[in-house]
Amino acid sequence: MPTLTIEPITRIEGHARITLQLSDAGDVERAQFHVTQLRGFEKFCEGRPFPEMPSLTARTCGICPVSHLIASSKACDALMAVEIPPAAVRLRRVINLAQLLQSHALSFFHLSSPDLLLGWDSDPASRNVFGLIREHPQLAKDGVRLRQIGQSIIERLGNKRVHPSWIVPGGVQSAMTPEVRAEIRAWLPEAMDIAERTYRLYRGMVKGFKAEAEAFGDFPSLFMGLVDSKGNLEHYDGVLRIKNSEGHVIEAGVRADDYVDIIAEAAEDDSFVKSPYYVPMGYPQGMYRVGPLARLNVAERCGTPVADEALDEFRELSPGRPVSSSFHFHMARLIEILFAIERLEQLTANANILDTKVRARARGNKNRGIGISEAPRGTLIHDYSIDDEGRITGVNLIIATGHNNLAMNRSVLQVARRYVRGPNVSEGMLNRVEAVIRCYDPCLSCASHEFGRMPLDVRFIDARGHELGRALRK
């Protein structure tokens, strides 16, 4: 059977390739998304004192270290069996939302906009940020600015943009000063202007992407995300909710300690990313999606006015049911940007955020601690076990990209079947196959994002391993 390999996949985090197996007639029969890098954090953290875990696991990723700091610190809070001070919770929420803001801005403005605004079939030589600057200069500047605002909030609170050590077991290292609060609040109106302007632009375009929406991962699946006590959008705390594609809530509120009752992980021979699934439905039928699309699907409301208005418009894409196309991750991301800015405004308006009691201290009081938060790309689980001396004896990290692994594979198959006809494959066809992966904004951790034209080596190989043809994109 001829095989088509796309490697490397561009404008994602890390190293991966896609393999498409074609029938003799050139139709796509199978598709697989392989993650080809191994990190090994779960193993080499063993034996370390648990308070080191936030700093250690934050090194998993240079793009979303704050997310790991949050989930890790929550797992350590659980090991210490402490309730952290309310101001520390608010401050952790602030930095988590700032992380979401800068990450979503990068994904939408820099990584996906060239496809969305310049077209999947446009000249790859200009389908990049410079094409974007030429055609949409304001949008390109807005992307830089919005990301800078998110990064600056992280820097002001954590004293560093990358790998801040400010979030610690039991709370945070230091209180927010009035000066920092004033500075952050001064940036928010400009951030909101950018976010609303971009959302309006995209809302006006989204119906024009009907063909892509129907082919880019549009299938039934479960959706999972955190919700608060009212069932609303939540990124820091709360309980896990799962909805099916008919919109029925099948898990209303699973606490962090009970996540193993609903999530298990399968391993495949050809990828370093495991495939989590919903236990009651088994593997691989228990496929679910996480991230902005899933969060908006499982939540009752966002809980902030501008984002809720946008949520109503989002739900018009699929009245009465969850939005099932992964293409709409893009719109969901923009709505979460609106939400993040509104919540940042609310959180920093509260005078209690300046409280100076921001850390609880204790030694390990339990032998297992689980922390769950919502990273920009989806649910992030840190599960630690320690011995009586506080040394790590077991670690399990389930990251958003892992949760989405089964769905990404399914999405690749769908879009490839729609657009790829071998062996004469056009650049536009390949770009769509890559683009469906970019909808999920996968974080394969800490590798470079490539933007625009990338080397691509496509090989057609028959069942005996003979090369039938080759297409190179240099």
């Binding site: 800078q148 605002i149 933007f451």
Partner: protein, 154 residues
């Protein structure tokens, strides 16, 4: 977030990787020597697109970085200009030349620029510079302070 400055100093590197910390350490020590609102000093693990705003506000930028191409302890300084080739397409980290290109395309202007490079003797897991590079630090710092004064006079 960004202010108009005459001179922007950007120390680039990873403080956990021995001599790769050259740029950040020089930037940090410079902070203690220079107290002039016309000079902005930044430390970054990598150069990223949002730095374009800082560059657009400056008239001159000096990048401080470690180099694997130079011999251990070898020091080099040279002017650089924007370049639309090479890693221009990267998003999460840019070369200084690509960052200048981004700045020009986004803001219609970019500062004059130079890069100061130090050849690394080691990039292992350590927060300490190797003796080879640590021994060159005072001299580089002195040169840099003098260069900044020259630029301010200009």
């Amino acid at each position: 977030m960004t202010r108009s400055v005459s001179i922007l100093i950007v120390g680039v590197g990873n403080r956990l990787r021995e001599d790769d910390a050259f740029g950040p350490l020089v930037a940090e020590q410079l902070e203690h020597r220079i107290d002039d609102e016309r000079v902005e000093i930044l430390e970054r693990a990598t150069l990223t697109p949002e730095l374009t705003e800082n560059l657009a506000q400056a008239s001159h930028v000096i990048f401080l970085d470690a180099s694997a191409e130079l011999a251990p302890g070898e020091f080099e300084r040279r002017p650089i200009s924007r370049d639309s080739r090479g890693d221009l397409a990267l998003v999460h980290f840019l070369s200084p030349e690509a960052l200048l290109e981004w700045t020009t395309r986004l803001f219609g202007k970019a500062p004059s620029a130079e890069i100061w490079l130090m050849g690394v003797a080691g990039t292992g897991l350590s927060e300490q510079l190797t003796p080879t590079v640590a021994g060159r630090l005072p001299e580089v710092l002195e040169l840099l302070a003098r260069r900044i004064q020259e630029l301010l006079v200009e």
